[in-house]
């Protein structure tokens, strides 16, 4: 979720530079990115080509992935949807079924973009208003007046909720001994695999080995299954890349086999790291 945090930041200036910046951090989500791409078409949003826009978005995502930028899931979901929309727009429209037509989908997307643009414009106008405490100022030494009939005690709902939430969290934190994060690090995975590679002159199934390894190190195999699998796979792919070992998987979800890479070329065509 690389793009989650920077949403709060002000995006970098987008002054119509022609080059496509692969700067996901600057965008506040896929719709923001789409709107920016749409602006580059330099046409009225009413006349925008959704097909061209979908293509640009897909190119953007391709480039981002080529640069190994992590894209947040919602960017990928949008990419998948646009790829679908693109195919619908290119194919002849089937007889009207239950689903909305491709043209309807495109129109709906264009409307969403225009709506976002409209609310942005409104936000800019709001921000450019004279603001209290910045452009205009209230009395610096106010006094309580009879007309207001203010209560003796002052408290805001915000303060009440924030006091409650913080107090409750404090107590919960006091109660919970924060469980140690069960993570099998890449370094640990690599260490274990290196030992395995030493033994594996021929194809060796990985899972049983990992289970034995965990057990012999007193680690809870079941709780750690996910992290072990993830770290082991990453470490293995890394080692394949380095030419240290070969990986084999005969079918989707089938067991993974590993062996030390020998000097001679492998006898079987291997699928490298494109398992499930």
């Amino acid at each position: 979720m690389a793009a989650q945090l920077p949403f709060e930041e002000d995006g970098p200036e987008r002054d119509g530079e022609p080059a496509l910046r692969v700067d996901v951090d600057g965008y506040e989500g896929p719709l923001d990115l789409l709107l920016d791409l749409a602006r580059r078409q330099k046409v009225d949003l009413h006349r925008i080509s959704i097909l061209a826009l979908a293509e640009q978005y897909l190119v953007f995502v391709e480039q981002a992935r080529a640069l190994r930028l992590e894209l947040a899931a919602d960017y990928l979901v949008m990419a998948a949807w646009l790829a679908y929309l693109k195919s619908r727009l290119l194919l002849p429209e089937p007889p009207r079924g239950e689903e909305p037509s491709a043209a309807d989908l495109a129109t709906a997307l264009a409307l969403r973009l225009r709506r976002l643009e409209a609310i942005r414009a409104a936000a800019r106008r709001l921000a450019s208003r004279e603001r209290l405490g910045q452009d205009v100022f209230a009395r610096g030494a106010p006094e309580a007046v009879v007309a207001g009939a203010r209560p003796v005690w002052e408290a805001e709902l915000y303060d009440l909720l924030s006091a409650y939430a913080q107090q409750r969290m404090k107590r919960v934190q006091g109660h919970i001994s924060v469980g140690q994060r069960v993570v099998w690090s890449l370094v640990e995975a690599r260490e274990a695999l290196q030992r395995l590679v030493g033994e594996a002159g021929d194809w060796t199934q990985i899972d049983p080995y990992l289970a034995r390894y965990m057990a012999s190190h007193g680690l809870p195999a079941r709780e750690m299954a996910a992290t072990v699998r993830a770290s082991a796979l990453s470490a293995m792919l890394e080692m394949v890349k380095e030419g240290v070992l070969d990986l084999r998987q005969d079918d989707a979800f089938a067991p993974l086999y590993l062996r030390r890479r020998s000097a001679r070329p492998p006898a079987l065509p291997l699928s490298r790291g494109d398992g499930p």
């Binding site: 709060e8 506040e28 709001l126 004279e130 452009d135 100022f137 009395r139 924030s162």
Partner: protein, 225 residues
């Protein structure tokens, strides 16, 4: 400024005295209060028979062009320094809270679209609202929890506060800038297509037909709750 500005209307001596006194009283109250005071609140303190609107109109004219102006904000009246002197005064004041682009956008959606749920905000922006965004707006006192939408999940609805109007120098929510254009663009024409239209903003504290004052159907929000 002319000297007649502060002069009472010349209906009768008693009336003139009462009006002159009302001018002083209202001036004093508005000077003393940091928050806007409504015409009704002010009327309570002036001599009977004096038209408060006339007093306010007179004071507004009188302070027009001075260093301090009388303004209609948040449904009431308040003295505020003249806006052309902002730079001079800002130097002395604490630096204002800087709103991130995201926070400003969320604020605008809440303002123009209220009452609005978090899911609707996210639908318009096409992105999850980051932690801290709503928090900042609530803390600033510009946004409040209104009630709950009468729809599955009964989500909380958000709206703006009088503090929001005061901060942005608006008298009523209808004074939001660009509202006419948004209406013209069709995004604000009632609730046509439930998903695309932006309703005419409304900060009336009265709950809408599809809003509930979170009621009996409120279900625990946590399995332990």
């Amino acid at each position: 400024m002319t000297d007649t500005a502060a002069q009472p209307p010349e209906d009768s001596d008693g009336g003139a005295d009462a009006f002159a006194q009302a001018l002083r009283v209202v001036e004093a109250l508005l000077f003393a209060s940091a928050q806007p005071l409504s015409a009704e609140e002010l009327a309570r303190s002036v001599p009977a028979g004096v038209a408060i609107e006339e007093v306010l109109a007179r004071l507004t004219t009188f302070y027009d062009g001075r260093g301090v102006n009388l303004r209609a904000v948040a449904g009431g009246y308040a003295f505020r320094t003249a806006s052309d002197l902002g730079n001079l005064l800002a130097a002395e004041a604490e630096p204002p809270r800087k709103l991130s682009r995201a926070a400003l956008e969320v604020l605008a959606i809440i303002a123009y679209h209220q009452p609005v749920t978090r899911a609707e905000i996210e639908e318009i922006r096409g992105v999850a609202t980051a932690k801290g965004t709503l928090d900042i707006l609530l803390e600033a006192g510009w946004v409040r929890l209104r009630g709950r939408r009468r729809s599955p999940g009964r989500p909380v609805t958000f709206g703006t506060t009088p503090g929001f109007l005061d901060h942005f120098g608006l008298d009523r929510i209808d004074d939001l800038p660009g509202l006419e254009e948004l209406k013209g663009s069709g995004f604000i024409e009632g609730r046509l297509t439930r998903d695309l239209a932006v309703p005419v903003p409304d900060d009336d504290p009265e709950l809408r037909a599809d809003e509930d004052p979170l009621g009996d159907l409120f279900t625990p929000l946590d399995e332990n709750g």
